[in-house]
Every structure is written in C-alpha cells, then in structure tokens.
Amino acid sequence: MNAPAAAITLAAPSSQARSAERAARQAEVVAALSPLLPGHALLWHGEDTVPYECDGLTAYRQLPLLVALPETEAQVAAVLKACHALQVPVVARGAGTGLSGGAMPHPLGVTLSLAKFNKIVMIDRLARTATVQCGVRNLAISEAAAPFGLYYAPDPSSQIACTIGGNVAENSGGVHCLKYGLTLHNVLRVRGFTATGEPIEFGSEALDVPGLDLLPLVVGSEGMLAVTTEVTVKLVPKPALARCIMASFDDIRKAGDAVAAVIAAGIIPAGLEMMDKPMTAAVEDFVHAGYDLTAEAILLCESDGTPEEVAEEIDRMLDVLSGCGATRLEVSRDEQQRLTFWSGRKNAFPASGRISPDYMCMDSTIPRKRLADILLAIAEMEKKYGLKCCNVFHAGDGNLHPLILFDANDPDQMHRCELFGADILETSVAMGGTVTGEHGVGVEKLSSMCVQFSPAEREQMFAIKRAFDSAELLNPGKVIPTLQRCAEYGKMHVKKGLLPFAELERF
C-alpha cells in the first residue's frame, strides 16, 4: 500500500515522484471500487473530474483522486468500506454550492458525489414531515409540500440548487432563521453511514431519542462525522400573508440601533436584513427595485402570519423604526412589491459579481449591538487593504456577509483579500462573535479557528471526530486546524465565556 497523504507532504518528494505515486494510488483505488459500482459511476480521467475540483468557493481548487457516484445506499456502504480498508479519505459532496470549501476534494481522496440520491421518499401531510434522500434540493422539498399548505422553512440563498444533505452538513441558515431556526431546528432524523460503512441513524420521528441527542453534532459537522443519505425534516404551515417594510437610515449607527430596538420591543420579525450604501447602489443597478440610493443603510423588516397578526405587527414595527429615525418607510402593498423589495437583497452576490471580477463573501456573526462598530471597522479595513467591500447582513441574527471585491488574477489583490477577510473574522471574534454563522469553516476559515478556539478546545473537537471516525478519513483536514497550522498562523486565541484564567498560550 502507498504511504498516506501526510507522509507524502512531510517527505516532500519531487513532483515527478509524487505524480507517479498518485497514479499508482489511483489505480489501486479504481481497482477496488470498480466491482462495487456501475462503470459510469466512477470517474477518474482528468477531464471528468474537473467539474468536482471546487465548490462555491472557487478560489480554492484541487482535483480528487477519483469521483464515485453511487446510486444506492448499499453502494455507499460498499464504497465507504472499501475506502476504509485502503485508508483512502472520502469527501462527500452534494450540489457543490457551499461557500467555504467544505466539499473541496482531497488530493489523494475519493469525492463521493451523492447527486443521484434525489428522490422524495415521503411527504406525511398529517405529521408535517418530509423524508427525502440527501441529494434532494432544498427548494424541491417546499415545492413538493406546497399542495398541502406546508413548506420547509430554512431558505439559504442557494436554495434553488443546494441539497438537503449539504444543508445538514453545514447547518445552513437563510433569511428567516431568527423566527424559524436553522437546519438543526428543522431536522428530525438523519440516516447515513459511518466511515466504516455501517448504517447509523440520528434523531427520530419522535421529538427525542434514548441516550444522547447527537443530531446537534452531526448537523453542521461538514461531512466529517458520517455520510448522510436520507433526512426527515419538519414542514411548517405556510403563513397566510407576508409583508415587508423597507426603511432608510441616514446613519449606519441609527440603523444598527433600530435593529436592536425592534428586538427589544418584543418583536421577532420573519426577516430582518440590512444593506449598506455601496451594496444598495450595486443591487439597484442590477435589479432596478427603486431602492433609496441616498440612504447610508437600508433595513428590510418582514412580518408573516395571519392577516390580523401581520397588520398588528407591522404597526408595531413602523412605530419602532420611525422612533429610531428612519428617513423613509415603505410597506409592501402586495406580494409583487414584497418580492421587489427582496429582489436586491437576494441578488447581492450576482450584483457584486457585476461590479468586480471576483468577490469573497465573509460570514461572521457578531452581537447585534455591534453592527455599527463592525461596519466602521470594515470601512477602516478598506483603506488598510486597498480593496472595496459591500455589506449585506442578516441583521436580525447579527450575521454579516461582507463581500470583498478583488481580482483573483492579481496575486497581490488575492493576498490582500485573504488578509482583509481574516481581519473581519477575527475582529468579529473579538467583538464577542464567531468566524462563521452559516457557511461553515471548510478550508476557508481554518486559520481563523485558531483565534476562536484554544488548543485544548480544538483537541477536544479532534477527539470527537475520532469517536465517529477513528482513522480520520471523512473529509480530513477541514474545520479544525492542527496545532502546527495555528503555530504557523501565529495569532493569539481570544478568550471568551467564563475563562478568566491566564491560559498558557504558546502559539
């Protein structure tokens, strides 16, 4: 058997030797998997594997050793068993829309594409649940449930393409999390396979299970603990009505304060989003929704429910927003106008793509009260790194999506963009927040995890990983940075919570 990946890296052999070794390893794995899958379900020629070289984080690319596309659970189990026997890393992949490189291939690993698991197994109208295979698209669940007046609440902006298996891996959010929760809060049961190919089930159709509740570990584990093949989700009744307020502010701080004031008034909006002035200009140019281009910040504040409920809540929201100094307030008249209000927010990413060759989307979360502070800090960083940044926020949950504009063909810009991004993440941690709210760590935020977690905390996470996957073959190298990587990164861990002790940080 060939040496594992780590040994190759440490020995640093010539690229020629490495390529020969890789070819031999590839032949070995192809030989092991060929008997397990139909011919068309195994890809290893360069041109066939190129579509799998990255996910939505296109700046980081890597060709996999090979791609397996199983069609049945038995095949998934067989592939996992074979890979485990050969000690080959396995990277599960859904639609590849992730934004943190969680599905980036391993150079000596198998990319396990679950695209063929695309069947809706059952919609149970009375129980309000949908059981679907992992490759079913997020939006397809809501479409299938629509005839019953039900839908699946979490709505990441990629919902037209992203799969429920990927949502489970990332614990995806969306614009309605504040009221309806994240993926975790809307998943009842996850069925899948361990790294050794054993079937395993987390959660159930009841509201709890015997022993530990392991769903919170598995949901959001970025494919590192188990491979998901089937998911049972909760469906909720579609609200009879939704209306949205568009509020303009002439000052970022006032807009940030308005967000806190809405919550403090005891209102949980269905959505509460914020765009800064550069972002508003970019999206207006793209969607022509009639946004207020003079505003320093725009808030979108939505209420949903019965018509009586919405009328009551919209009145309360308007009171708070005008009390916070909104310079313009407009309430959507009808569904058409509500969608127009949202069109800009929903198109923030493509609109940024039009004004810059590339953009890097950040995803940190901060306490809501620090919204204005982080925006001002980002404005300073624009000067420091010489790059522009547009800002859209899930303001209701303090989740930021700064879009740093750069040109990936210019290595210096790419480098400055990475530094800019890390600065935003680490400033967010210092403000009491987290490096990722909903996109996951993947490969992108590995270094910043050194700042958020202490060596002992990271080691505890590795121990959890090994409890599920002792050989560390499922999506290795993602999410948790090694001690060595953090030592090289050289930044201090920010203390949090109760931790009053002087921790003996050596890295």
């Binding site: 929760g181 022993g211 409920e309 306490p367 009491g432 009053p500």
Partner: protein, 363 residues
Amino acid sequence: MEADPALSRLINQVQVAASDRVPLDIRGGGSKAFYGGEPVGEPLDVAPLAGISSYEPSELVVTVRAGTRLSELEAALAEKGQCLPFEPPRFGASGTVGGMVAAGLAGPARAAVGGVRDYVLGATMINGRAELLSFGGQVIKNVAGYDVSRVLAGSMGIFGVICEVSLKVLPMPPASVTLRLEMDAGNAIRRLNEWGGQPLPLNASAWWDGMLVLRLSGAVAAVQAAHDKIGGELIAPAAALPFWQGLRDHSDEFFVGASRAVDGGAALWRLSVPATAGPLKLSGEQLLEWGGAQRWICTSAPAQTLRDAAAAVGGHAVLFRARDKTAGTFAPLKPALAAVHQKLKQAFDPERIFNPGRLVPGL
C-alpha cells in the same frame, strides 16, 4: 472578569478525582436526582458557581453560571418581558440552570417551540482532563466547529461539569388563551395534528380523561382568530396559569396521583412517540402532551411492555419515576449508536469520573 473562586475549586476537584479515578456526582440543586440512573460518587457541588454573567434583552441572549437557580434566572427574564419558551420543569425550588441543561427536560410548549438544546447557544465546561473549554458562543447563528454545547443538553453530565451556558431567550407572547374541548384520545390526536398543519398559534396541549386543553399564544389578533376557529370553552387565566404550571412542574392532579402510585410500587413512564401515533393500548391512565408526541403513563406493567409499545410506533419509553430502576431509564441503544456513545464518553472523560451510569448503564 475576575477568576471565580468557585470555578477554581471545581477544576481542582476534577483534577484530583481524575488522577485518583474517583467517580464524581455532579450536583446542582438536587431536584432531579430521582431522574436517570442512581447518582453515585463523591458529590461535586456546582451550586456555588452562580450568577447571571450577562443579559442583554435586545440580543435575546442570557449568559448564566450553572449553579444559578432556575427561579432566579426566570425572574430576571420576566422583569424584561422575556422567558425560556421551552418551560423547563421545576421539581422544587432548588433546581439550577446547569441541571436544566444536563437533564434536557422541557415542558408543555416543547412541540411548538423546541426543546432545551434548541435554546443553548454556548457552554463553558470542565472535561475529564480538568480543562476548561468553551464551545458555541453568544450569537444565534454559529457554525464554527462541532456544536458541543448543544450535545450537553440531556447528557446527564456524563461529559463533564457544565459551568456556564448562553441561552437564547424570547419575548413573552403578547396574548395567551386556554381552551377546553371534550373529546376522546383518538380524536384529540387527529385534531391536534390537523391544527398543526394550519397557521394557528398553538403553543401547548394536554389531553387527560376525555378532556383536551389547548393553549394559544401569539399576537392578540392571531390568538383571537384561532380561538374563533377552534371553538371550545375558554378557561379563565386564574385557572389556566396554575393548570399549565402544574403540568410543567408535575404538581398537578395526574402527577400527584402518579407519585402516590410510584410510592406504592408502580412506575411513571414517559413515552416519546411520533405525534400522529394513535392511542396506545396500555393499562393505566394516560396523559397526552406535545400535540400527541409525549404520553405519560403510570403503570405496574413490565418495562418491556412499555418499550415494545413505544418502539412499535417509532418512539421510545423512558422510565421517568420509579423505586425500582433496574430496567434502565432509556431503551437499550442500537449497536452503532452505543459504540458512538462509548467513544464520545472516552473522548471527553477518559478516566470515566463524571456521573457514571446516570445516562446509560456502563457509561
């Protein structure tokens, strides 16, 4: 923040216990000592590590030390018009926040609003190596690393000492009404599930002895409209409030009767089943909660009868209160899950000092 001396003492005690391999019985207020496996080991008293560390109503987050009394936390939230929506049961006044998280029990609103783990945002804990670790945080959206803090909910302390938790809190609903409708169990289950599929502000339900009691909570207009639609007899707030509290804290008629029966040798079982499962044919009175998803039965029937009945409909049976707990609190785990339990325990607590046997025998 100054080092809390109570925290240093806990860390020291864990350090000593780990090196001597002495089991520890982690205790808050002791109000849930009856639940789970028999507590064994040297007591580790978390109560001195108390106090609300930070609370900002506009962030909808409170950070609180584990030894804080639940009653103190709830009073502080109520002062700002907020609450713990999952209504954790209070089996007496001494219950603490750490115990609430470790036991993972939720009250009448569970089906509508989620359970304890859905409101845990972060936790600081001492693991079996006496390391103080912090996971999650104080923000609602957070996917940095494994979500260890939420796994602590319902873990019965087997991973370590919960020292501080950050919880999501919510405003109290502007309006709440309680209704009473006469119907049998089968109809109650069917109607609860049908209502669940409609945009109605159904917050809690209880069926016992031919009577279904519903609580609607939300915007004033929504509650009114739902009452008009559902019908039923309105119960005055002066009677409704103690009813739901009694259900939450197990001090109402059904549970008082169950307690007496337990003293006489019967057992109180909690069956957690899919909400749509029809009435379970078991001897003994049944109280249905959570839209049909939680069923309480006080019976002397053998454990296997209850476990089989729950498993047959896709659920499980918990031995909640009993003098003889040899049957184990939970149904035996499937082998793949049992293996993960063992390895996770090893990952957090290699010397196996924390709360041995409280969650699952042998863990």
